[in-house]
Symmetry: C2
Subunit: 124 residues, 2 copies
DNA sequence: ATCGTATATGTCTTGACAAGCATATACGTA
DNA sequence: TACGTATATGCTTGTCAAGACATATACGAT
């Protein structure tokens, strides 16, 4: 469970992070909002805290948890390398859809892929 | 293993995706480059294909795998909600670097990082 | 037809982890 | 003090995924 990617692989943890985006919350608030059991919330918070995604302060018996930016930025940095790639593809798709939708004569400047081949896509 | 987040939680799969960013590759190439066993590569590629991260075309006995953008965009969309947050927490220089990354300009870098608080942080 | 290469798949084992439930700890209040 | 509330932690169980190894399938060449 070292990497930030593994941490956010868990849906409940992602939900907690999204919730904390609004404001800091106590364990009880998270528990009620996300309809999880209290131990589950505490355990996920522990994982998130140890990975640096959240931090907490003590308020009497409660603990208030809030978001920390660094680990998510790390994910974002990894993702960044693909942005150039997918914007190229989306542009190609947009051009294509645009041609179809308007049914007008448009010249193709460039193909996204030079030769059309049979592609094995995802399972259905 | 439905969600894109679970798919990219696996380090070898992330390595494959990064490798495919360069160009399409055969299973054998991936195997050698990433020093994984062939069945391991094939299995990871299957997972990636079924989740829409890659597609393949047949070239004689080989299969050439290449990247598909959509699933990573999905991850990026989730991540997007946090950008506003962390840019508020980032210092000015990091914001600056972020801008640089976006429009591929080049400049000098330095280091700064303030964060004073009484806080229960990550494990040591 | 046989062989070699490239890739996919099946089986088995092992380890990680999430959930549930019970219990411990910490703190405020009467 | 005793009690209620808030949170953390311990234990057990079921699930699932990844690696290793063996085997199957597909194709080209001889």
């Amino acid at each position: 469970m070292q990497s930030a990617f593994e941490i956010i692989a868990e849906p409940n943890r992602r939900a907690i992070l999204s919730l904390l985006l609004g404001s800091e919350r106590s364990v009880g608030e998270i528990e009620r909002r996300l309809r999880m059991t209290q131990p589950a919330v505490s355990k996920h918070l522990r994982v998130l805290r140890e990975a640096g995604f959240v931090e907490s302060t003590v308020d009497a018996q409660r603990r208030l948890y809030r978001l920390r930016p660094e680990p998510l930025r790390e994910v974002d940095i990894w993702l960044a390398q693909f942005r150039r790639f997918w914007s190229a593809h989306m542009d190609a798709l947009e051009r294509h859809l645009d041609r179809i939708a308007r049914d007008q004569t448009k010249k193709t400047r460039k193909r996204a892929r030079p030769n059309p081949r049979t592609v094995i896509g995802e399972k259905k």
